[in-house]
């Protein structure tokens, strides 16, 4: 079938509202991201307080985890409640490689990613035909089952967990005395995750996932392989989350099932993404930058008697977001920018 060739080109059309699939990095975005990277690179050099560095490492880790979750929960719109499953698999893979086989945790990290992606593939094939809340409940249950299974495998410590042996070789065994190298490891992972997230958002996969999120059947009728891309997104989420789990295990040197497979981890990741803005790369960064330091400082300030207050605050944050701003902080900022441009008479806002 042929249609008449047009005399104009798409290049000449005014870009009134730039949808993500046509967005290219603007100079402002480059400057913002590079400026943020410079600040983050200098941070552990300027701030040497161990507690602050620990909080910073956790913030970087949770930002990565929220970015990983965003591929499934934000872009594709399916509530994934088992991020801790992939986090735990990554942690156990790195720890088992070192403790049981004397291998480098880096090898464990790779095995963890492959295992997590394989589990995600099976999980996706079984659950991705479910929609919305059903998918959320199914993944939550799978996450809970993982704790029961790992509690009963004695060769990897069972309920008592496992500790990593102390080694001299720092890089090979991913063990350092100071927190700074760990900080840079997590920062490196975050940078890679941001690049992956932005590539997917602006590429064909992002376009397909947004279409599937709105109307899976409609997308299928346009030839979009719904189940394939859903599994794809879930596997990417699992891979990113698993790497963070492996780095975490090497950082804390002790893990047990109730810590690394904890449902609280999965819930916390969802809350971070919700607060920052579902589906936005910047949302995961902003959400983690607010909630993780807040939670850690509350824990430290309130001590043993105040345990759980951070979770209560997280819960309150979710209620307020859902009622007042379901688009999260980035959504609010976008609205503010659009309003400002509208006042200034910018053509992008005159819709």
């Amino acid at each position: 079938m042929t249609i008449q060739k047009s005399t104009t080109s798409v290049e000449n059309v005014k870009r009134e509202v730039i949808a993500p699939e046509h967005r290219r990095f603007s100079r402002t975005e480059w400057i913002t991201y590079l400026g943020l990277l410079v600040v983050l690179l200098l941070f552990p050099i300027v701030i040497t307080e161990p507690f602050v560095l620990t909080v910073a490492i956790l913030t970087l880790m949770y930002a990565t985890l929220a970015l990983g979750w965003n591929f499934t929960g934000g872009l594709m719109g399916l509530p994934l409640f088992c991020s801790a499953l992939f986090f735990g698999l990554g942690a156990y893979a790195a720890m088992t490689a070192d403790t049981n086989f004397g291998l480098s945790p880096w090898i464990g990290l790779v095995i963890g990613v492959l295992t997590s992606m394989a589990v995600a593939w099976i999980l996706g094939a079984l659950t991705l035909r479910l929609d919305g809340h059903y998918f959320g409940v199914a993944t939550f249950v799978v996450g809970a089952i993982a704790i029961a299974i790992f509690n009963n495998i004695s060769s990897i410590g069972g309920v008592q967990g496992m500790s990593a042996p102390i080694h001299d070789s720092e890089l090979y065994y991913m063990q350092w005395q100071q927190p700074r190298p760990y900080y840079y490891l997590f920062l490196g992972l975050l940078v890679l995750s941001v690049m992956l997230s932005e590539t997917i958002h602006r590429g064909r996969l992002g376009l397909y996932l947004r279409a599937i999120k709105h109307n899976a059947l409609g997308a299928a009728h346009l030839g979009v392989r719904v189940t394939r891309y859903r599994i794809f997104a879930l596997m990417i989420s699992a891979g990113v989350t698993s790497v963070a789990g492996s780095l975490y295990a090497s950082y804390v040197l002790f893990i047990d099932p109730t810590t690394v497979f904890a449902p609280e981890i999965s819930v916390q990741i969802v809350i971070i993404a919700l607060l920052g803005g579902l589906g936005y790369t910047a949302g995961a960064l902003i959400g983690a930058a607010i909630l993780i330091p807040l939670g850690q400082y509350l824990n430290a300030a309130l001590g043993f008697s105040g345990q759980g207050w951070n979770l209560a605050i997280f819960g309150l944050a979710v209620i307020l977001i859902v009622i007042f701003r379901p688009t999260g902080i980035v959504g609010v900022l976008e609205d503010a920018c659009r309003l400002r441009e509208e006042k200034a008479g910018h053509p992008e806002a005159r819709e």
Binding site: G203, R210, H214, A219
Partner: protein, 245 residues
């Protein structure tokens, strides 16, 4: 080669026979009407043809190849495009993005899907489809911001993008204002003119009379009439199905 052949298709829900032994053919370039009162089984029939439902019995052939029970994605890749009573538009995606979504996915692999954008040639083709329906100036607007009729035109641009062999249009003029219907009808004729076989579900008799070469009328899951629109108007069974006695 016949664009679409449906042979003895049957689909039941419990004791209700929604589609009861339906056979029909659509030739390339032909617009075939599928008419009938509400609940007569038209949508169930096209659901079975387009892969949204699996028929209990019968066969569907697309360009001479059996496609019975294939999923919508595969059917779409083989050249069958379907529109819905409700719009198949993605409001959070730009108009150009909506058309780009309809590009053929053959040859895509994991890496190219993750990292790739649509090529310039494909983007220009999507733009041409928008030009064809007169919506090119909205290329970079979010589709959700357009009127219902304009969104229908974007849907048509996406249909053109797929180069379909067979198009199933499920009430394309429902909810569209008369001025926009005027804009839509030539597009449907154009689709047929360039070679697509069209199966059109339509309640508006004026529209059906203008577009359709031949029509099937369904009632209670069965075909009660097949013939020209002229014959249809005077057929007692059709009058009975629509108005009762």
């Amino acid at each position: 080669m016949t664009a679409l052949v449906v042979k003895h298709l049957k689909k039941a829900f419990g004791g209700t026979r929604a589609v009861d032994d339906i056979s029909l053919t659509v030739q390339p370039g032909q617009i075939v009407g599928l008419l009938g009162p509400n609940g007569s089984g038209k949508t169930t029939l096209v659901n079975c043809i387009s892969g949204a439902l699996r028929p209990d019995e019968g066969q569907v052939e697309l360009l001479g190849r059996p496609v019975t029970g294939l999923n919508p994605e595969t059917l779409s890749e083989r050249g069958l495009v379907r529109t819905f009573q409700t719009l198949n538009i993605f409001p959070e995606i730009s108009c150009l993005g909506n058309v780009l979504l309809a590009q053929r996915k053959t040859g895509e692999n994991i890496l190219s899907t993750i990292t790739g954008r649509s090529s310039r040639a494909i983007t220009e083709r999507a733009y041409e489809c928008l030009v064809h329906v007169g919506m090119e100036k909205f290329a970079y607007r979010l589709a959700g911001g357009l009127s219902y009729g304009q969104q229908r035109l974007i849907e048509f641009a996406a249909t053109f993008m797929r180069n379909p062999s067979v198009v199933i249009l499920d009430e394309p003029t429902a909810g569209v204002n008369p001025a926009m219907i005027e804009a839509l009808l030539p597009r449907i004729k154009e689709l047929a003119r360039v070679g697509a076989g069209i199966l059109l579900i339509e309640h508006n008799m004026k529209v059906a009379s203008y577009l359709c070469d031949t029509s099937y009328v369904m009632n209670f899951g069965a075909v009660i009439f097949k013939g020209s629109m002229e014959e249809l108007r005077n057929d007692p069974k059709v009058i009975d199905a629509y108005f009762g006695r």
